[in-house]
Subunit: 325 residues, 2 copies
């Protein structure tokens, strides 16, 4: 496959998206302090990050608001309270899951909102629902992306149908999502080519969201980038469900565009991320996550194993193979 | 570049080498219990590992034997005491540094030794010394490899000269060594091609030894593998200096040859590697290592930073940039 640029190229199409509050929120139930979120926002602007994701637009009729931090619901007024007013240097996004969001009620016109981009997360079988949300978001004036989850489990024919629907929609970008952290760079390269084949003629951009079960989150991100992917998800210290995500500090340290600046990233990590860890919030590469990644399984069994403090890795592996978990 | 095989190919040329005692020994001053080493030996055989490295052949006239565990000196009699007798299923290696080994005194004929392979580690400027050791090891009946350290700092012209000397020697394999954990897969691919161009006509094999400063140890290992590299270094839980190495459990879980077996690897980790960690032995990815990796520096400043418990990452980074460390 053709590389797009080389290791020293400044690629103007690149968009770094900080998903710390959203994917990291899955680790601590979205219980971030306002100070944390505000400092993260300031840090992202100083670091040249292109988008900051403020959380999910979860439906409060489905999820009990008293049981989660506010960023599971990412209301416009809560975002305004953090940012004060819009800063033109960075755009904001929220994620909305198909079937778990009352988007017609909770997503108001962009002109009234601090949010610039709605990221619609879907499994392949709910693609018609995703298209409906994409078109609604576009009508409301937003940028819209689609994150097709768990592609490592998809048949190629189903993936093609889904991507063709997206090619015919008004979506701006489509993400490759390695939900289970099971993919190797060779497979990421193949998927990038496959997505491009269908989406590039329709002038859709590509994005990538990775997990670190096999210590491949950063490697897979830059593999896809090198082949033309533009939207790159990262989180501070890789904070995210299970094994976590591509680390922001690795990505910002790698990108060659001088707009990106590692200094504020380091400053934020030493003060705020270390504090989170000290307070017992746990994520990152560990053997049970590696095993679910290698087997292309959802990480839930590994999350339970680690939460229970179990270190009987061989038994855990055999249980996974038995399909008992 | 042409891939050699695909993700499902069994590559008969692959040789997995466990360097836990040797590179891991740099973390705990080679203070492994005999039980640990014996169980590791049994585990490697059960896991299908091809070579186990028992440590360094350091010169006891240079290093005080009372200050290190015995595997810094990896004497034949100490290895015999662990293994009893030779097991034909796995070969053994030791590493010898040019200029820090009295090889004519300490490396006896292979027929009297449990060791099968001598790995000669050299910087480019001591290549004549390395060649001398290679030829000595070959005369003594051993397999011999050459690990050219710190290639990320080399000029291409110097690298070419060194590789041409090796092409004309009796060496069996030459390792690409990413000493500083600074290289990305694209660069590893370039180096693999460069090494092959000079070494393949002389029928020398290629090896790879990586560090995890940028969470690239495993990714770089399989990148080089996919292009034809055969000798793959790994350590249990990635144990090794600073950010550590390619993790054995990731590599064994990835390789498709059914001779490799993950079960004993997991069993060893849950009992012995977790115990090491519990006893306070520390290695693995951390921000200071990432920074020396990104800057292509030796990790020594990062090792000092972490040993001192310092978490002022921004200051550390600025000091590195100033060249004060």
């Amino acid at each position: 496959m053709e590389k797009k640029g080389n290791l020293l190229t400044v690629r103007e199409d690149v968009r770094v998206l900080d998903a710390t509050i959203r994917d990291g929120g899955l680790v601590n139930n979205f219980q971030f302090t306002d100070e944390f979120v505000r400092k993260l926002y300031e840090t992202n602007i100083a670091a040249g990050v292109d988008y900051m994701e403020f959380g999910y637009k979860a439906d409060r009729d489905i999820f009990d608001e008293s049981k989660f931090g506010k960023w599971k619901f990412a209301k416009d007024e809560d975002i305004w309270a953090i940012i004060g007013e819009k800063d033109p240097r960075m755009k904001l996004s929220v994620m909305a899951d198909v079937g778990r969001c009352n988007f017609r009620r909770d997503i108001r016109p962009r002109s009234e909102s601090p949010v610039d981009m709605i990221r619609i997360a879907t499994y392949i079988n709910t693609m018609p629902g995703a298209i409906e949300m994409i078109e609604y978001a576009k009508e409301m004036g937003y940028e819209a992306t689609c994150n097709i989850m768990a592609v490592s489990k998809l048949q190629e024919g189903d993936m093609r149908q889904g991507l063709e629907m997206l090619a015919h929609s008004n979506v701006d970008a489509v993400y490759i999502v390695d939900s289970y952290g099971s993919l190797y760079p060779e497979q990421i390269a193949r998927l990038t080519a496959f997505y491009q084949e269908i989406l590039s003629p329709a002038e859709k951009s590509l994005g990538i969201h990775t997990h670190n079960n096999q210590q491949m989150a950063f490697a897979n991100t830059i593999e896809s980038l090198s082949l033309g992917c533009s939207y790159l998800d990262a989180t501070y210290c890789g904070m995210g469900r299970g094994a976590g995500n591509c680390a922001m500090e690795l990505l910002i340290g790698f990108l060659k565009n001088p707009k990106y600046n590692l200094n504020p990233v380091l400053k934020f990590i030493e003060k705020y991320m270390l504090e989170l860890k000290k307070n017992g919030v746990v994520w990152g590469y560990d053997i049970p996550y590696m095993l679910t990644g290698q087997l292309n399984h959802h990480p839930s069994a590994a999350i339970d194993c680690i939460a229970a403090g179990k270190t009987a890795y061989l038994e855990f592996y055999q249980d996974l193979l038995e399909g008992e978990l």
